[in-house]
């Protein structure tokens, strides 16, 4: 087992001529909860998609547990995308069977008990479920795995504040503590209390990566406060007001 779980070296991603990531260098250890923080369009989703193999970087290298992205790294990553990714005709239990088939670390019994506590009936067809219930099913699929790396892309973006706490609670009580959770979000105040580390992504570059304790100590303010300061400052730089 490699000591570093994630290593990105000089990762660049361009869509045509438009850069989405411009030289990302990142190292993540194990057993951490890390916030990937940045405003919309800063490259959070692009970075996560590269880590889970949905995108190929234009330049640079990515290693997960010492391996290049491929079937092995996919088997140790549990990814929550920012959209629904299953066929409607299936039932939640069909998806549990699929996950149990493909991922050795998927715990079906735990998935069923998570459904019970989240108020989801797993024998219902997904077609008949509300959007919120489908999101819960997707969260159950991702968190019922004992993965090494959880990549959660905006897990709390579309829900009300009460549901945010509920989702974060589900993540915290279910993740594999030997693994690392990377949560991308722009709703920092909601996640700050659970984070060990924070990464600030700005215009496709990492401008800050440190432990939350260090940030608070050094800056004398919360991560949320620092984030607002950094990203608000940019808006006023032009002097348009």
């Amino acid at each position: 087992m490699n000591e570093l779980l994630v290593t990105c070296t000089g990762v660049v991603k361009r869509y045509g001529n438009k850069p989405a990531l411009s030289g990302v260098n990142l190292e993540l250890g194990r057993g951490r909860i890390v916030g990937l923080l940045g405003p919309n369009g800063s490259g959070k989703t692009t970075l996560i998609k590269i880590l889970c193999g949905l995108l190929q970087p234009t330049e640079g290298a990515v290693l997960i547990d010492g391996q290049t992205v491929g079937p092995y790294t996919k088997s140790v990553i549990s990814y929550l995308p920012d959209r629904m990714y299953f066929a409607d005709w299936m039932k939640a239990t069909d998806l549990f069977d699929l996950f149990a088939d493909f991922y050795k670390d998927f715990d079906k019994a735990r998935a069923m008990s998570m459904c019970a506590s989240l108020g989801v009936t797993p024998s219902d067809k997904l077609k008949t479920m509300s959007k919120g219930t489908k999101e819960k099913v997707q969260l159950v699929l991702v968190m019922a795995r004992k993965a090494q790396l959880y990549l959660l892309d905006e897990p709390i973006a579309g829900v009300d504040p009460a549901a945010r706490d509920f989702i974060l609670g589900t993540i915290l009580t279910n993740y594999n503590e030997a693994g690392t959770v990377l949560i991308s979000t722009h709703l920092i105040s909601d996640v700050e209390r659970v984070l060990d580390e924070a990464i600030f992504l700005k215009d496709g570059q990492i401008t800050l990566h440190d432990t939350v304790d260090n940030i608070r100590e050094r800056e004398g303010k919360s991560v949320d406060g620092l984030f607002r300061e950094i990203f608000r400052a940019r808006n006023y730089e032009g002097g348009a007001f």
Binding site: Y15, L55, Q56, Y79, Y85, F86
Partner: protein, 272 residues
């Protein structure tokens, strides 16, 4: 892992065709009876037709033809949709993060599509046999004929069987080539950020035009090969050579389409 992918692809296929395949066969059976009811025998033993019987038979035949058409349209739509939605659409977020390689995703979808189309052909052929006027005596005769064939097996029967199997293989390879052309066209269309469906259609048309041009270029050569083979030998060999040449050419084209699709999924994947 490939076996597991196949399991889920086949499951979604059977879900789609669970109604239409049995329906085609049942309608064929209905047609079998309405057709025989159409002809009546009068008191003098002369054959005639009844108007009511003809109308019923006509309607039953219309429904049967409609369901057969629907079956083949469903097969093509199913093939396109399982790849477009399942690999390049939102479901792709799940499929491409499973611990499998892109060629396995394509292979599983392709095998499932070929089997689906083949089974649809089998259902169509069976349904035509069901419609035809037969009696139990006819079926008995067919079995006896097969029995005779197997008990008097010789070199020629072997050759004929090989010939049939080759035709079957040719049919499967052509299905695969056609589907892979669809896959590679959709993959090319997905490289663009806008109008992906329209550009997939454009890619399909362009590839088709290129293939026609290529075929026109190699046709004289192929004709030459086949004609010279016919001139040289006799018996079944010219036939075998001709069929295998076409299978070979089809297979090469299929391999190029497969490699192109695999390259795009592996290196250029860009889901919406």
């Amino acid at each position: 892992m490939f076996g597991k992918l196949l399991k889920y692809d086949f499951r979604s296929m059977f879900k789609q065709f669970a109604f239409i395949w049995p329906a085609a066969l049942v309608l064929a059976l209905v047609n079998h009876f309405t057709m025989s009811a159409m002809t009546t025998v009068n008191g003098d033993g002369i054959l005639g037709t009844s108007t009511a019987g003809t109308t019923t038979a006509g309607i039953a035949m219309l429904v049967y033809v409609a369901i057969l058409l629907a079956m083949f349209i469903t097969a093509v739509v199913f093939t396109i949709q399982r790849f477009y939605k399942g690999v390049l659409g939102d479901e792709g977020y799940l499929m491409h993060t499973l611990p499998v390689r892109p060629w396995q995703l394509i292979g599983s979808k392709l095998l499932c599509a070929v089997v689906t189309t083949f089974l649809s052909v089998v259902v169509a052929v069976l349904s035509i046999l069901v419609i035809m006027p037969w009696s139990w005596r006819d079926i008995n005769a067919v079995f006896r004929a097969f029995g005779y064939l197997f008990s008097h097996w010789n070199m020629e029967t072997t050759q004929a069987m090989w010939g049939l199997l080759e035709l079957l293989l040719l049919m499967l390879v052509s299905f695969a080539t056609g589907f892979l052309q669809l896959y590679v066209s959709m993959s090319i269309g997905h490289l663009f950020s806008k109008n992906r469906v329209a550009l997939s259609v454009v890619a399909f048309i362009v590839i088709n035009a290129l293939m026609v041009a290529l075929m026109n270029a190699v046709l004289p050569w192929m004709e030459h090969v086949i004609v010279s083979v016919f001139a040289e030998t006799s018996g079944m060999w010219p036939y075998h050579r001709a069929v295998w040449t076409i299978i070979g050419v089809d297979f090469i084209i299929a391999a190029v389409y497969f490699a192109g699709t695999e390259y795009i999924l592996r290196r250029k994947l860009n889901l919406e």
